[in-house]
């Protein structure tokens, strides 16, 4: 079991408040990712769940039991650190079996469990080596092995893939997802990489400036970000934001741009200055006709996609993601159209005012 509940958790270092009003309910078996920019408090939040960091106020519950003041060793959690934090002086075998030895399990049982874990992770040939003799990816596996043998209530990962190269990162991402399916244990995963968050999570907690911005499924975050921060943070390339104003008849006038008639807005809130957000992949583009005329400043051609950075006069830079496009190049003129049903509208407080 591994249901984790945070109730009104606050954290301050001295006078500096780093996390405020954190209320989260993470269901047993769920894969939850904490994502946010550096310094948003995501690692601190994870460390409070493990008990490595004290909670200033509020409560942490694991399976209904209040563990706010329980020491890390008694919480029954396993953690995989960014640096792996393997014990350098003992073999891979002893690293994996470390927690079991501390728990006082019989040696035969430890050997059995270590063998099973190493088989799952493909570490059989490396068991007698020291951690420093392993590659980064192998060390990562050992760290995961050390976590899984203990059959913890939940696994906590603190940016575990950030020290790996890109190819290995993708591979480990898939392995972790499969591991989660296989073990069906609660996993909490901290990352600043929104691709990792989107691809792995059942639900994502987006943190910024010490506040939970949104806690939802990846698709929910993409389709219905609650505010401008989430809208800009989730999605790559980043969502485009254009200044706009509400018109008297409830439409949205993009400054120096088109008048948008968006059907799903909360009409009461269509007032004053607004921000229109549109994802690069939702903008339509053409050589000869459209709402906005601009010049392609940079073309990034990936083969599968072309990212066009378009300078539009009096509006600024707009990013367009053109799937499979090969016919638009730097210095060309391009016409862009913003499909109204794809536009997100944010009020002055940066809150999204679309109804769905």
């Amino acid at each position: 079991m591994g249901e984790i509940v945070l109730k009104d958790v606050h954290k301050a270092f001295g006078d500096v408040s780093v996390l405020r009003d954190i209320d989260l309910e993470i269901a047993d078996g769920e894969f939850v990712v904490f994502v946010g920019p550096s310094g948003c408090g995501k690692s601190t939040l994870l460390r409070m769940i493990t008990g490595l960091e004290t909670v200033t106020s509020g409560h942490v519950l694991i399976d209904g039991k209040d563990v706010t003041h329980t020491k890390p060793s008694s919480r029954g959690l396993a953690m995989v650190f960014q640096s792996y934090a393997l014990f350098p002086h003992i073999s891979v075998r002893d690293n994996i079996g470390f927690g079991l030895r501390i728990a006082g399990l019989p040696l035969a049982e430890i050997a059995d469990k270590v063998a099973k874990a190493s088989a799952i992770l493909g570490l059989d040939a490396l068991l007698d080596r020291k951690p420093r003799e392993l590659s980064g990816g192998q060390q990562q596996r050992v760290a995961i092995g050390r976590a899984i043998v203990r059959e913890p209530a939940a696994f906590l990962f603190d940016e575990p893939l950030s020290n790996l190269d890109a190819a290995l990162r993708v591979q480990m991402r898939i392995e972790l997802v499969r591991l989660h399916e296989r073990l069906a244990t609660t996993m909490i995963y901290v990352t600043h990489d929104q691709v990792e968050a989107m691809t792995m999570a059942d639900r994502i907690v987006v943190l910024e400036g010490g506040d939970v911005q949104q806690f939802a499924t990846p698709i929910e975050l993409y389709d219905r970000p609650v505010n401008k921060f989430v809208a800009g943070f989730i999605g790559s390339p980043k969502m485009n934001f254009l200044g706009a104003d509400a018109t008297a008849d409830g439409k949205v006038q993009v400054r120096n741009g088109p008048l948008l008639s968006i059907s799903d807005l909360d009409t009461a809130r269509v007032t004053g200055p607004l921000t229109v957000g549109i994802r690069p992949e939702h903008i339509t583009y053409s050589h000869d006709t459209g709402d906005l005329k601009g010049t392609i400043v940079v073309e990034e051609q990936l083969g599968s996609d072309a990212f066009l950075y378009v300078e539009v006069e009096k509006i600024g830079m707009i990013t367009v993601r053109a799937v499979g496009e090969r016919n638009f190049h730097s210095h060309q003129t391009v016409y862009l159209t913003l499909p109204p049903q794809r536009c997100h509208v944010f009020d002055q407080a940066d809150l999204r005012i679309n109804m769905n």
Partner: protein, 271 residues
């Protein structure tokens, strides 16, 4: 560089090394000379190295004091490690109010010259009836080395990546287990460094030993100093004793050297 300028630094190095080692060389030669040869003019340059009379005389009378030295030194080293390592671990990893103040305060006790403590220590041990006892010396030597030992050990513990200690905690270790199973093995070179310095201090200490011992608990340096009397200086015995005196630290340092070198340069470069 041509051959001459290449040779120059070497010649200089040999010369400087000679200046520094000359007293030791002179002493080694004196240890194997008779009293007459020691005072002979012109000097006897190469003594008869099979002449061991000086050592025999010295050890037959004074071997218990050599043993005292050994017990005091090993005792002080063990005691200061036993106290300093847990203290340093706690100062590094436990969070409590005035943590840094405590660490600075420990170091500040080292700012006082040892001689300033000699009279108070004499009175205290006199009060406890511990003058001229080995435990008294062990306590004093361990005590004098504690600030230094704690500070060096702290720097070693600080160099252990924090995440490794945290991993041990999450894996279920109590603080004692974390200390014993993770921190100590990783601070091995630190322990060797601290042990070597304490060992050398305790083995060579003379001043406090002169104050606190009279007969039974005398250490070897005290004995050596006693060979220089108002009436006569026994150079042959001083020389022989000094050779014996410098041997253990040399051997100990050679054994520990690998660790000490990695210890003293630790953290100097990124691994």
């Amino acid at each position: 560089m041509n051959r001459e300028t290449k040779a120059l630094p070497l010649v200089a190095a040999v010369f400087i090394t000679f200046i520094f080692t000359a007293p030791i060389i002179w002493m080694v030669m004196a240890a194997f000379k008779t009293v007459v040869d020691i005072y002979a003019v012109p000097p006897v340059w190469v003594p008869d190295f099979t002449y061991l009379e000086n050592f025999k005389v010295l050890l037959s009378d004074n071997w218990p004091f050599l043993l005292n030295s050994l017990i005091v030194t090993v005792g002080a080293t063990v005691l200061s490690l036993a106290l300093a390592l847990p203290a340093a671990f706690g100062l590094v990893y436990f969070q409590f109010r005035s943590q840094n103040f405590l660490a600075d305060w420990i170091l500040s006790t080292r700012m006082m010259p040892p001689i300033a403590a000699a009279v108070p220590l004499y009175m205290v041990f006199n009060g406890f009836g511990m003058l001229d006892t080995i435990p008294a010396l062990i306590i004093v030597y361990a005590g004098f080395n504690l600030p230094f030992a704690i500070w060096v050990a702290m720097s070693f513990f600080r160099n252990i990546p924090r995440e490794i200690i945290e991993a041990a905690r999450v894996e279920g270790c109590s603080w004692v287990q974390t200390f014993r199973l993770v921190a100590l093995p990783l601070a091995k070179s630190g322990i060797a460094t601290v042990a070597t310095f304490v060992f050398i201090f305790a083995w060579n200490e003379l001043l406090l030993a002169l104050f606190l011992t009279t007969r039974e608990a005398r250490t070897f340096p005290v004995v050596i100093s006693s060979f220089s009397t108002v009436t006569r200086t026994y150079w042959e015995l001083i020389s022989a004793a000094t050779i014996i005196q410098i041997l253990p630290p040399v051997i100990f340092t050679i054994i520990m050297q690998r660790h000490i070198v990695s210890g003293l340069t630790m953290g100097a470069v990124k691994h």
